[in-house]
C-alpha cells in the first residue's frame, strides 16, 4: 500500500532522514521506533505532506505523493493522522461536532451531507467509545483518553485507508492507553486500515506492529518482523534499546 524509497530530509546541517526505505502492505501495522531526534515524526510529516523531502519517493497505491516539490494529494481523506498531544491537537474554541466534522470540508458534497447527519455522527461517536451528547460539548470538558478518542473519530470520519499514528498514547496513563490501543486494533480489523505507528515505546510497538523499523540518527538501522526483532535483534543499537527497556517481568 505505502512504499517509501530512499527518503532523505536534510535541514540546514542535520540530516533528519537518511535514505530511509520501507513498505507497508495493506491492513498491516508498521512501527517506527527510535529516540527523540531520530527522525520518526519527520518521516510521518513527509508522508502527510507537511514537509517536503529533499530526495527520495513516497508511493501510495502506485502513485508518487511528491512530484516536483508539490504534494499530490491522494483522494481526499484517504490519509489521516492522529497526533500525540490531545491537549493541543483539538481546537479549544470548537465544539466536538465541529472538530470531528472538519475533515468533511475536503469531501464531495454528497458525502459531506451524508456524514454531517446527526445519526451518522452519533454512530461514529459510539464507534470510538463516546456518546452522542458529547458532540455538543467543548474539548476542555474531556479527559486525555476521551480527547484521543475524539481525535480518532476525526481521523476515521473520512473513511481513510491509511492512518499515521504519531505517539498516539504517549501522553496517556497506562490504564487509558490500553483502551486506546484496543480501539485502534478493533478499528483496523473492521475497516482494513493500514497504520504507520510511530512510537518511542518498545512494548507498545511490540504489541501493535507486524513489522518494525528502528531509526537511529535518521537512519533505518534495522528492520524485521516484530517477533524476530524482539527475539533476536541484530544491530547493537537495537540490542541496547531493548536492554534499556525497564521491563516489569524481567525478574520472573
Amino acid at each position: 500500500m505505502l512504499e517509501v524509497n530512499n527518503l532523505v530530509k536534510a535541514f540546514d546541517k542535520v540530516v533528519a532522514a537518511d535514505h530511509v526505505s520501507f513498505r507497508i502492505p495493506k491492513g498491516e501495522t508498521y512501527g517506527l521506533v527510535g529516540e527523540s531526534g531520530s527522525g520518526k515524526s519527520t518521516i510521518g510529516n513527509m508522508i502527510i505532506g507537511l514537509l517536503e523531502p529533499t530526495s527520495g519517493e513516497i508511493i501510495l497505491d502506485g502513485k508518487n505523493l511528491w512530484l516536483k516539490s508539490r504534494y499530490e494529494r491522494p483522494k481526499d481523506g484517504k490519509i489521516q493522522v492522529v497526533f500525540q498531544d490531545p491537549q493541543s491537537s483539538l481546537d479549544a474554541r470548537m465544539t466536538i461536532k465541529q472538530i470531528v466534522t472538519e475533515p468533511l470540508r475536503a469531501l464531495p458534497r454528497e458525502e459531506r451531507k451524508e456524514k454531517s447527519q446527526r445519526g451518522f455522527l452519533a454512530q461514529l461517536m459510539k464507534t470510538v467509545g463516546l456518546s452522542e451528547d458529547h458532540l455538543d460539548r467543548s474539548p476542555h470538558e474531556f479527559s486525555g483518553g476521551q480527547r484521543q478518542r475524539i481525535a480518532i473519530a476525526r481521523a476515521i470520519i473520512s473513511d481513510p485507508e491509511f492512518i499515521i499514528l504519531d505517539e498516539p498514547t504517549s501522553a496517556l496513563d497506562v490504564s487509558v492507553q490500553a483502551q486506546i490501543l484496543n480501539l485502534l486494533k478493533t478499528l483496523q480489523r473492521e475497516r482494513q486500515l493500514t497504520y504507520l505507528f510511530i512510537s518511542h515505546d518498545m512494548s507498545v510497538i511490540q504489541y501493535m506492529c507486524d513489522r518494525v523499523g528502528v531509526l537511529y540518527h535518521g537512519k533505518l538501522v534495522e528492520e524485521a518482523d516484530t517477533e524476530s526483532l524482539f527475539a533476536s535483534p541484530k544491530e547493537a543499537y537495537t540490542k541496547r534499546l531493548l536492554e534499556s527497556l525497564p521491563r516489569l517481568f524481567e525478574r520472573v
Binding site: E35, S36, S143, G144, G145, Q146, D173, V174, S175, V176, Q177, A178, Q179, L181, N182, K185, T186, H200, M202, S203, V204, Q206, Y207, M208, R240, L241, E243, S244, L245, P246, R247, L248, F249, E250, R251, V252
Partner: protein, 317 residues
C-alpha cells in the same frame, strides 16, 4: 526509620471549594532504601513529594497527620528550619531538567554555589568539588562541562547535572519526582543505574515517584501504589508486582502491553483517570473496580499478607 509519614491528609482550595487530594496516607523510608510511589495522573504522588519538602502551594491545607524526619515533624517546623534541611539533608530532583537549572550561569558555578551553601569551603575548593561531583554522576570530561551553560547540554546530561546538584551535600534522603520521564530509554537506563550506585556509595535513601511500573521493578526495594490520593497497596516490589492483591494494581499490570499476546485485546481498567471532583464516599476505586459490591460503599479495611505486604480492599481473601 529516616522518614515516617503518618495519616497525612491534604486538600486544595479552589473557586469550587475544597478538594481532598491526599486522604490519610502513611508511608515510611528506612536508611539506604529505595522506595517507589507509583500512580497515574491525579493519584497524589507529586503532592506527597512536595508536602515532604514543605513546598505545597498556598492554597493547600494540611488537614491532619505528621511527617517525621529524623524525629522532628516537618509540618510544624518553621520555614527557616526546613530551608536548612532542603538540599543538605533532603535533596530533590524533578522531571524537567531544563527548568531546574539557572540558564545564565555556568554549570560549575551553579554547583559550587550550592556546595558553598552546605559546606565551609573556599570558592576555589568548591569549584574543584563541583568538578568531582560531575565526575560522580559519570559525566565525561567534567572540567569542560563545568565551563558550559545548561543550554549547551543534552537533556540526559542536564538531568545528570541536576542529580549532581541534589547529591552534592550529599543528602540523607533524595526525593525524585519522575526524574527520567522526559528522557529516552537508553539515557533513563543510565540514570537509574547511577541512582542505584549513589545509594550504595553514599547511603542515601531515595523516594522515587513514577508512573512506570517497569522502572519500579528495576529500581525499587519497596513500593506504594497510589490511586485518588490514597495508598491502595504496599509491599516489597516483588510482592506488589508479582502477587498483586488490589484490583487497581492488578488492572494496571494487565493493561501494560509488555509480554501480551497480540491476538488478544489488552485487559483494561474501565472508565477514565481519577477525578478529585468526583470522589466516591467508600472505596476510592469504586467506580472503576470490576469487583465492586455494596459493601465497597464504606471505606475498606486493611488486609495484611505477611509482614510487609498489605492492601486496602474488601474483596481480597
Amino acid at each position: 526509620m529516616l522518614l515516617d509519614v503518618t495519616e497525612l491528609s491534604i486538600s486544595f482550595k479552589s473557586i469550587y471549594g475544597y478538594a481532598k487530594i491526599l486522604d490519610n496516607i502513611s508511608l515510611n523510608i528506612n536508611k539506604g532504601e529505595i522506595v517507589g510511589i507509583v500512580g497515574e495522573s491525579g493519584s497524589g504522588k507529586s503532592v506527597t513529594a512536595l508536602s515532604i519538602l514543605g513546598l505545597l502551594a498556598n492554597n493547600a491545607s494540611v488537614d491532619g497527620g505528621s511527617i517525621m524526619y529524623a524525629g522532628k515533624d516537618l509540618l510544624t517546623m518553621r520555614e527557616k528550619e526546613i530551608q536548612n534541611l532542603r538540599g543538605k539533608e533532603i535533596g530533590m530532583v524533578f522531571q524537567e531538567p531544563m527548568t531546574a537549572l539557572n540558564p545564565t550561569m555556568k554549570i560549575g558555578k551553579q554547583l559550587a554555589n550550592v556546595i558553598r551553601k552546605h559546606r565551609d569551603v573556599s570558592r576555589q575548593e568548591a569549584l574543584a568539588l563541583a568538578v568531582e561531583s560531575l565526575r560522580d554522576v559519570q559525566i565525561p570530561d567534567p572540567e569542560t562541562v563545568a565551563n558550559k551553560y545548561p543550554f549547551q547540554l543534552s537533556g540526559g546530561m542536564r538531568q545528570r547535572v541536576v542529580i549532581a546538584l541534589a547529591m552534592s551535600a550529599p543528602p540523607k534522603l533524595l526525593i525524585a519526582d519522575e526524574p527520567t520521564t522526559a528522557l529516552d530509554v537508553t539515557v533513563q537506563d543510565e540514570i537509574l543505574k547511577l541512582m542505584k550506585k549513589l545509594t550504595v556509595e553514599k547511603k542515601t535513601s531515595i523516594l522515587f515517584i513514577t508512573h512506570d511500573l517497569g522502572v519500579v521493578s528495576k529500581l525499587c526495594d519497596r513500593v506504594y501504589v497510589m490511586y485518588g490520593g490514597k495508598i491502595v497497596e504496599s509491599g516489597l516490589t516483588k510482592e506488589v508486582l508479582y502477587q498483586s492483591k488490589h484490583p487497581y494494581t492488578k488492572g494496571l499490570i494487565e493493561s501494560i502491553p509488555e509480554n501480551k499476546a497480540k491476538e488478544q485485546p489488552l485487559k483494561v481498567i474501565e472508565g477514565e483517570a481519577f477525578n478529585p471532583k468526583k470522589r466516591p464516599a467508600g472505596c476510592i476505586f469504586y467506580d472503576r473496580c470490576p469487583l465492586h459490591s455494596d459493601k465497597c460503599k464504606t471505606a475498606p479495611p486493611i488486609a495484611h499478607f505477611g509482614e510487609t505486604h498489605w492492601t486496602s480492599c474488601w474483596e481480597v481473601d
